[in-house]
């Protein structure tokens, strides 16, 4: 997953949103999610305003709404939970389309749906406009512990190497007639996975030696440029709008 290998959640583009430094975008996304979560659930129009802010960001970034629709599928388990809640809540109850639904359950379901959907959409906006490498650099500039960013950076490189090894082992297995159709035949695949783990561990030790030999002293050298005040302002603008909406919603509820 290097420079020429974008991850499936990234949509290449040339918009102002794409050009913002990652650390500003990560902070902005986090602030947006916090504003959404803090919104009182009874004030339904506030969530509409949040969505409007997101739509404006998408328009600036040049990412179509359809792109988000297909990738929001990750939310499905929570949607199922939300749909079931109104049926299981207590009194008071209200009649909707012939079914007796609990009011508290309805509000809880709306809470999950609205905040979950908006959270997922904010994350997708961040992922869609930021390549994986820049995300890790942004985290590094935000003073995430060095261990986390080092592991993430190495993972970017070695996930593909390990996947390649696994592919070669699989080809070697099927070339020798291995054709696992039943559970009892997966022993060979499982042992392959075990030996892949050991090989990766040994490779990790060799990589550690190579890093030591080039003077590594515990933290990867910091990459990326600091963000200017204008860029920080631009990145925090949507979050500010959402925070204002949330504040107004609290005063009028």
């Amino acid at each position: 997953m290097g420079a020429g290998h974008p991850h499936p959640l990234y949509r290449p583009g040339d918009s102002p949103v794409h050009h913002l430094p990652a650390q500003a975008k990560i902070a902005g996304a986090l602030a947006c999610v916090l504003a959404v979560v803090a919104t009182p659930r009874e004030v339904v129009w506030a969530f509409g305003v949040h969505l409007l802010v997101l739509l404006v960001v998408w328009a600036v970034a040049g990412i179509p709404v359809r792109w988000f629709a297909t990738r929001s599928v990750i939310e499905l388990p929570f949607v199922v939970l939300a749909v079931l809640l109104p049926f299981s809540g207590g009194t008071p109850r209200v009649q909707v389309l012939g079914a007796s639904l609990s009011v508290a359950g309805l509000y809880a379901a709306w809470n999950i749906l609205a905040k979950g959907t908006l959270g997922v959409l904010v994350s997708l906006t961040l992922a869609g406009s930021t390549p994986l490498r820049d995300l890790v650099v942004g985290l590094q500039r935000l003073r995430t512990p060095a261990m986390v960013t080092t592991i993430a950076t190495l993972m970017l490189r070695y996930l593909d190497v390990i996947a390649g090894e696994a592919r070669r082992m699989r080809i070697a297995r099927i070339s020798r007639g291995h054709d696992p159709r039943f559970l009892h035949q997966v022993a060979a695949t499982a042992r392959g996975a075990g030996s892949l783990f050991i090989r990766s561990y040994e490779r990790g030790e060799r990589v550690h030696l190579a890093m030591l030999s080039r003077g590594w002293a515990g933290a990867l050298p910091s990459a990326g440029a600091p963000a200017t005040r204008a860029q920080w302002t631009a990145a925090l603008l949507p979050a500010a709008a959402m925070a204002a909406t949330t504040a107004i919603a609290w005063t009028v509820r």
Binding site: G2, R157, V207, S213, G215, P221
Partner: protein, 256 residues
């Protein structure tokens, strides 16, 4: 680097005295190795598998600590307090380029070493550009190492070490797994670098082409040390240490 320059060329680039090393389980890997390499020399380290060549190389930049004996790099002893300086002076290129190319792009890999030694900003960018130009990989600076061929990865691995501007270059099997053209291009690159070089190799013609002096290591000790051409002409010596010239190659046949 300035220290050794001021002293002049009387200090050896590399001095190994009585180096002994045993693995934790007691197995002796090195049994008293003595070696002296002068500045600008290119030395090949030959020997059968298991002789201790890679173990010796790992002692040169302080990765392994000897159980007895000393290693000095340009007069600086290799001890824990000097490790940073030693690692700046000794550039070790490992056998598997995938073990050394661990950053997402080529440029970042080459920048990793000099950045660790304190270089920043435009100076870092120039150093990276020079290192990539020295191995002829400038146009691949923004690519992931995954998309490079084996020979290209070896050259980038060499660039990552060259960027640290070491005094001594230690190469572990540089020509293994290379196609003939890549092998020749690497040889041309190495010859163009005017640095002290210690090359561990099984490839006797490569050693003959690149290194005027050879050292044969067997069972953890130096058994021969002399001009490459003489060593390769001594068939009995080669046979005693499981070395053989490849089919059709005669040491006197090709003149460098």
């Amino acid at each position: 680097m300035t220290a050794s320059g001021a002293v002049g060329r009387t200090t050896a680039a590399l001095r190994v005295c009585g180096l002994r090393f045993a693995y934790p389980d007691g197995r002796a890997a090195l049994a008293g190795v003595d070696l002296r390499v002068e500045h600008g020399e290119r030395v090949a380290l030959l020997g059968p598998n298991g002789a201790g060549k890679t173990t010796l190389a790992l002692h040169l930049n302080g990765v392994l600590t000897p159980t007895a004996g000393t290693v000095e790099v340009g007069g600086v002893p290799v001890v824990r307090t000097n490790l940073r300086e030693v690692r700046r002076r000794v550039g070790l290129v490992f056998q598997d380029p995938d073990d050394q190319l661990f950053m997402p792009t080529v440029a970042e890999d080459v920048a990793f070493g000099p950045a660790n030694f304190g270089l920043r900003g435009p100076a870092l960018g120039t150093r990276v550009a020079e290192a990539l130009a020295a191995v002829g990989m400038s146009e691949h600076a923004g690519r992931s190492p995954l998309h490079l061929s084996g020979g290209q990865r070896r050259r980038v691995a060499l660039a990552t070490v060259l960027a640290c501007e070491p005094d001594i270059l230690v190469l572990d099997e540089p020509s293994s797994n290379l196609e003939p053209v890549a092998r020749r291009e690497l040889a041309e690159t190495l010859l163009a670098l005017d640095r002290t070089m210690l090359m561990i190799t099984h490839d006797l013609p490569y050693a003959a082409q690149l290194c005027p002096r050879s050292v044969i290591l067997d069972d953890g000790a130096v058994v021969a040390d002399g001009p490459t051409r003489e060593l390769l002409a001594d068939a009995a010596l080669l046979a005693k240490h499981r070395l053989e010239l490849p089919w059709g190659f005669t040491p006197g046949g090709c003149t460098p």
